[in-house]
């Protein structure tokens, strides 16, 4: 019954007041540690694994479809389908380019929209955000770690598509020297390097949407709402991009230069569009990254 006595034996920390800055050795370790923790949490979500699974399965479907088509003796009939699809039967490496060209308009950015949209809002809805903030993660550092982890996810998602396509391409089709779009033939090794460069270019293409999704994620306390809003924005922008009356607007839409990655398959490489794409994505990251920061650092966390 007797209430606890006021303390006489205070903990060690009490003597020196609140501990101040972290030990300098631990400091940058920590920033990296929070990113690692973010990535771990993202990649252990069932939803993330399902999305990556879909991305891995798409090249398998495309590869099998091409194989079946050519097996039937249909040859390269119509000129339809994703870019590069007609070169796949000659060289399995082209399945990498085909798969990236097929997933970039919607599936890849959709997974990014889901992960980015959920990043802050999902934790707000679950209530874990308040415990991260009182840990204290620091709002700017937490947001930075979250954006970095979405960027890593963009790279990972792209690599999953590329790696799956490479495996399927090698398994189902002949591989060898690569004939570039400009007619020059390079070795398979250089072809692989160019495939890697293309994967990086595709990753860069996704960064603008990643920042947009992060911003949307700071606006609401519902992960589902943020995810659907971000994916909805993606669909809207893709529709706007094909309306000719909006020509003047098109250069400012984030997918405008997305297919520029094909220029990396020329010799010499045509950098103009690739760099224009990087610039546009950087602009989106700067604008929506700042907006997300302004919003998140001033927002009430009342969930």
């Amino acid at each position: 019954m007797s209430p606890a006595e006021p303390a006489t034996a205070a903990s060690e920390g009490a003597a020196t007041g609140p501990r101040s800055a972290p030990p300098s050795a631990a400091r940058w370790w920590w920033t990296f540690g929070l990113l690692r923790s973010e990535l771990g949490v993202t990649l252990r979500r069932w939803r993330t694994l399902a999305l990556l699974g879909i991305l891995a399965a798409l090249p398998v479907l495309i590869g099998i479809a091409v194989k079946v088509e050519t097996g039937d003796g249909g040859g390269s009939g119509g000129g339809e389908g994703p870019a590069f699809i007609h070169q796949v039967t000659n060289n399995g490496l082209f399945l990498v380019f085909t798969a990236l060209a097929a997933t970039l308009p919607f599936f890849l950015p959709m997974t990014v929209g889901v992960v980015a949209g959920d990043s802050v809002a999902g934790e707000a809805a679950a209530g874990t955000l308040r415990y991260l903030l009182v840990a204290p993660a620091g709002r700017s550092r937490l947001l930075l770690a979250k954006f970095a982890s979405v960027v890593v996810f963009c790279l990972l998602a792209t690599l999953v598509v590329a790696a799956s396509a490479l495996l399927v391409g090698v398994a189902l089709f002949p591989v060898g020297d690569v004939t570039l779009l400009s007619g020059v033939t390079v070795s398979f090794g250089e072809g692989l390097l160019r495939a890697l460069a293309i994967a990086l270019a595709v990753t860069v293409s996704l960064l603008g949407l990643a920042a947009l999704g992060l911003f949307v994620s700071t606006l609401t306390g519902s992960g589902i709402a943020a995810m659907s809003a971000t994916v909805g924005l993606l669909i809207t922008v893709q529709i706007l991009a094909v309306i000719p009356q909006l020509d003047a607007l098109h250069p400012y839409l984030f997918p405008y230069h997305w297919l520029s990655f094909a220029d990396l398959l020329r010799a010499p490489v045509l950098w103009d569009d690739v760099l224009a794409n990087a610039g546009l994505q950087a602009l989106y990251v700067a604008v929506f990254g700042s907006a997300a920061w302004a919003r998140f650092t001033s927002r009430d966390i009342a969930a």
Binding site: M1, P3, A4, E5, P6, A7, T8, A9, A10, S11, E12, G13, A14, A15, G17, P18, R19, S20, A21, P22, P23, A26, R27, W29, W30, G33, L34, R36, S37, G40, V41, R44, R45, W46, A126, G127, T128, R130, Y131, L132, L133, V134, A135, P136, A137, G138, R141, L142, S298, D300, I301, A302
Partner: protein, 330 residues
């Protein structure tokens, strides 16, 4: 003595107010002072503004007006320096259901810039052991009962040596056994010198575990101070157990006892003011001694089985302050 007597209060609020968007004031001009080393019960019915206050103290929401300080430093400005020394449980636990208990703690620990990753494992094990979750550490959190989730939340608050624990209704939703264990743990932590700021809507909980209390109702602070002092400030009720209840009531009324009520063989009432002899006393104005009351009863032939004054409780204090019952939601 580790804590100098002049040490700043563990928690201090001045004029702290919060108006949610489009709502009325959830917290209205709160002045709060939590002494170091105390177990401070932040008492109030549901909806009285306890969680809102705690969110402001911890820098989760921006006060509409007023200032707050934890461990002598302003919040939220010094959050990064103060919060590593503060463990918190806010409006129930929130966990990653798909992670194990241990991985949940690792996640929250990774968020703390002052937490040394090299000692993480050992600190997590110690915290799990402390709350008695060692055996369930490898289970996914979504398989935990509410009591286990609450304990895991407390373990997260104990990952580092803390100077202050802020526990928002830590026994909410627990069964009686769970409540007892949680209260025992709170006492134990307080015994180690950690200041505990505990919110509760349960009067007896605050009476059992707290040294100090502040009482909230409808966003306003009614009173604050040591628990004993508050309860003592309320006059207790006179209680008489007798088979002759009707006679007893009559005799007591004649001797100035007011607010009489009879229930079976129990007669209770407010004893006449023993200290002063207000002007109202009809003849003589002699202070009424409880012994005289008892003698009067016996003299009138009332058979008394038990006679005494029930100690004033916090509930009496609350009722005296608000004129309404404690369970009224704000």
């Amino acid at each position: 003595m580790d804590v100098p007597p002049t040490a700043e209060p563990a928690v201090e609020a001045r004029g702290l107010s919060k108006r949610y968007r489009g709502g009325q004031l959830a917290v209205d001009g709160l002045d709060l002072r939590v002494p170091r080393g105390s177990v401070f019960g932040f008492l109030g019915p549901n909806g009285s503004g306890k969680t809102t206050t705690i969110r402001m103290l911890l820098g989760l929401i921006e006060p509409t007006a007023g200032t707050a300080a934890l461990l002598g430093r302003p919040m939220p400005r010094d959050a990064r320096r103060v919060l590593p020394a503060v463990g918190a449980l806010i409006e129930g636990p929130a966990l990653y259901g798909f992670l194990t208990g241990r991985d949940n703690l690792a996640r929250f620990d990774a968020a703390d810039p002052t937490a040394d990753p090299a000692t993480r494992r050992a600190r997590i094990d110690a915290a799990l052991g402390r709350v008695g979750l060692g055996a369930a550490a490898g289970k996914r959190a979504k398989a935990y009962s509410l009591g286990m989730k609450q304990r895991l939340g407390l373990a997260a608050a104990l990952l580092q040596p803390r100077e202050l624990l802020v526990l928002d209704e830590p026994t909410n939703g627990l069964d009686p056994q769970g409540m007892r264990e949680m209260r025992a743990l709170v006492r134990e932590l307080a015994g180690e010198g950690i200041t505990v700021f505990l919110s509760s809507h349960l009067l007896d909980e605050v009476e059992q575990v707290c040294t100090h209390t502040a009482v909230m109702a409808r966003g306003r602070l009614l009173t604050q101070g040591p628990v004993a002092q508050l309860a003592a400030g309320v006059r207790g009720r006179l209680a008489v157990t007798t088979p002759d209840a009707a006679d007893a009531a009559r005799v007591l009324r004649e001797h100035g006892v007011t607010g009489l009520s009879v229930a079976g063989d129990q007669v209770t009432g407010d004893p006449p003011d023993a200290a002063g002899t207000g002007g109202a006393g009809a003849g003589g104005a002699r202070p009424v001694d409880l012994a005289d009351l008892n003698a009067a009863l016996v003299g009138a032939g009332v058979r008394v089985r038990a006679f005494g004054v029930e100690r004033g409780t916090l509930e009496d204090a609350f009722v005296a302050l608000t004129g309404e019952g404690f369970d009224v939601a704000g």
